[in-house]
C-alpha cells in the first residue's frame, strides 16, 4: 500500500470519517445515475416504446407469426445444446485449473478466454473456412448429404464458440477460493472421484454454476455477428431471434422488429432478475456460513 502523507496533520474530524459529505454523495449518485440512464435505461425504454407503438395486438401478432415462432424455436434449440456442453466443459476446465498446479496454466486460461475477445465475425468466418463448400470438410459433407453451415449445426457451433468461456470463468475463481481441503478429505475417507465431484464439489459451486449458466444462456440467445455469418438467413429455417429482428427491420416492419427485440430484452431482464435472486441466495448462504 502506498504510504499516506503525514505532513498535513489537522485535528481529527468528529463526523463519520469514512463517509463523504451529503452534497458529494448526492452529486456522485446523480452523476452515476445519469450516465446509466443515458447508456442503459434509454435504449431499454426505447425498445419497448417502439414495440408497443401500434398497440398490444400488433405486438402479439408480430411475436406469434410462424417465422417468429420458428426463430424462437431455433434460438431455444441452439441454447439447449450449447449450454449443457459448455457446462460440462466449465466443470472440467475449472477442476483442472483450480485443483491442480501444472505448467502452461496461464496459457490454458488465456485460451479459454480467447473466444470472448475474438470478433464474432471472425468466429463465424472460421467455421465457413472449415465447413464451407470451398473449405476443408465441405466437399465431404456435401457428398454425404450433411450440412453444417447454413443449417442448424453451424448455428449451434457458432453459439457454443462465443459462449465457451462463460461458465468456466465463473467457476475457476470460485473453486480457487474454496480450495481443495474438502475434496481431499472425501478422497482420503474413501470416496471415488465421481462421488467427490457429485457430493462435495458440485454442492459447493452450485450457485456459481447457476450464475454462469444464466449469463451463458443470455449470451447464447442474443448472439448476432457469428450466427449471421453462418446462418444463410433462410426464412423459417436458419433464422435465430436476433437475425429475425434484423430481417423485420429490413422489411420496413419496424414495430415487429422491435416487438421481437423486446422479447430478447425481456429475456435479458428475466435473466437479470434470476441472477439477482441467485446472488441473494449466495449472500444468505455466506452470512449463514459466517455465523455458524
Amino acid at each position: 500500500m502506498t504510504a499516506i502523507p503525514l505532513s498535513q496533520t489537522s485535528p481529527a474530524p468528529h463526523k463519520v470519517v469514512t463517509q463523504e459529505s451529503p452534497q458529494v454523495r448526492r452529486i456522485l449518485i446523480l452523476l452515476a445515475l445519469s450516465f446509466l440512464s443515458l447508456f442503459l435505461l434509454l435504449p431499454l425504454v426505447a425498445v419497448f416504446f417502439e414495440a408497443l407503438r401500434k398497440g398490444w395486438e400488433v405486438y402479439f401478432v408480430a411475436i406469434t407469426e410462424p417465422d417468429a415462432l420458428a426463430a424462437i424455436r431455433l434460438t431455444l434449440i441452439a441454447a439447449a445444446i450449447a449450454i449443457p456442453l459448455n457446462l460440462l466443459f466449465g466443470i472440467a476446465a475449472a477442476w483442472t485449473i483450480a485443483k491442480f498446479e501444472f505448467r502452461g496454466k496461464s496459457i490454458l486460461t488465456s485460451l479459454i478466454d480467447l473466444p470472448f475477445s475474438v470478433s464474432p465475425v471472425v468466429a463465424g468466418l472460421i467455421y465457413v473456412l472449415i465447413f464451407g463448400l470451398q473449405g476443408w470438410a465441405g466437399p465431404w459433407l456435401r457428398e454425404h448429404d450433411l450440412s453444417v453451415i447454413f443449417a442448424v449445426p453451424g448455428i449451434v457451433l457458432a453459439t457454443i464458440f462465443v459462449t465457451v468461456p462463460f461458465i468456466a470463468r465463473e467457476l475457476i475463481p470460485l473453486m480457487q477460493a474454496q480450495g481443495s481441503e474438502e475434496e481431499e478429505a472425501a478422497i482420503i475417507l474413501g470416496a471415488s472421484g465421481w462421488q467427490t465431484l457429485w457430493y462435495v464439489t458440485l454442492p459447493n459451486i452450485k450457485w456459481g454454476l447457476l450464475y454462469g449458466t444464466i449469463l451463458c444462456n443470455a449470451r447464447a440467445m442474443g448472439e448476432f455477428g457469428a450466427v449471421s455469418v453462418v446462418s444463410g438467413h433462410i426464412r423459417g429455417l436458419t433464422n435465430t431471434l436476433s437475425l429475425h429482428v434484423e430481417i423485420l427491420y429490413n422489411e420496413y416492419n419496424f414495430v415487429a422488429a422491435f416487438a421481437v427485440a423486446s422479447l430478447l430484452a425481456l429475456l435479458a431482464l428475466v435473466t437479470l432478475a434470476l441472477k439477482t435472486l441467485v446472488e441473494a441466495k449466495v449472500a444468505q448462504q455466506a452470512s449463514r456460513g459466517n455465523h455458524s
Partner: protein, 335 residues
Amino acid sequence: MKFNTGLTAGLLILGLVCTRHALAEQTILNVSYDPTRELYEEYNREFIRHWQEKTGEKITVRQSHGGSGKQARAVIDGIPADVVTLALAHDIDAISKQSGLIPADWQQHLPNNSSPYLSTIVLLVRKDNPKGIRDWDDLIKPGVAVITPNPKTSGGARWNYLAAWGFALKKYEGDEAKAQAFLTRLYRNVPILDSGARGSTINFIQRGIGDVLISWENEAFLALREYGQEKFEIIIPSISILAEPPVTIVDKNADKHGVRNIARAYLEHLYSKAGQEIAVRNFYRPSDPEIARKYAHQFPTVNLFTVNEVAGNWQLAQHIHFSDGGLFDKIYEYQ
C-alpha cells in the same frame, strides 16, 4: 452428466441429418437479394398455387435475402440454393467461377439474358424537392447529401455507381478522367455507405438522413407505397442505366435435391403473364413487350444505356471500378 453428453451428441447428429431431410422434400430454396422481399413473397404464393394446379404436388418455397454479394458468397460456401435471383450478372458469374455449381453459359438458358424483370436507377428526394434536384449534375453540388450503399458489398450500389458513371461519360464526351472526378465529387457528398440497398433506403426514409437517395426504381416506388406520396418524390434523371437483375438455376444443387423440374418451372413462370403482372405490381419493369406496353403509363420513359455500353461488360466493370485498388477505392484513398 453422462445423460447430458449423450443427449446433446444425439441432438447434434439428429440436427445434422434432419436439416438435409427437411430440405429434400419437394422444397426449393430461392436465394435472392435485398429489395426483392416483397416481390418473391407474392410470387412464391402464386407459384405454389400454380404448381399444385398443374401437378397436384404441394411444394414449399423457402427464401433467403441479403446483399447480392453476400448471397452469392453464401451459395459459393454451400447454402443449398436451388435457384438464385440476384442483383447483377457478375455475382452469378462469380458463383459459376468459384464453385462450378452453375455452368459458365448460364445466361443463355433463359430468355432475355436470363432477366425476367428489369429496372433502372432513379433519384428519390424529399417532398417538394427542397434542394432542387433534377439530374445527376445536382448530386455533386456542395451541401447536397447523397445516400447510396457501398458498391463493394451491394449489387444495387454498383448499378447506382455505373448509372452516374454513364451520365458523366456522356457529359464529358467520354473523358474518363473527368468522369472519375465527377464520381469523386459525388461520393464526397455521401455521408453513409450502407452495406446493402435496403439499409440505405431505411436510413433515408426512417432516419431522415440525406437530401437524395440513389435507388432502384422499384425500391423508390415501394418506399412511396410504404411511406406515402406526401413525403417523397421520385426524380427521373435525363439518362440512367438499364438494370437487368438475372435469375438462374443452381444446376448442381437442384439436381442433387432432385428438384430441377420445379426450379426450372419456378423461373420460367416468372416470364409468364401472371409472373410479369406480379413483377409490375412490385414495381419491376416487365421484360415481356406486350405486358410492358400495357403498363407503359406506370413506368416513366427514361433514356437507358446498358452496362456494356459504359463499361464493356461486368467483368471489366468489376475489375476497373470495384476491385481492391480500383477506381472506387481511389475516391476514398486520396482525400
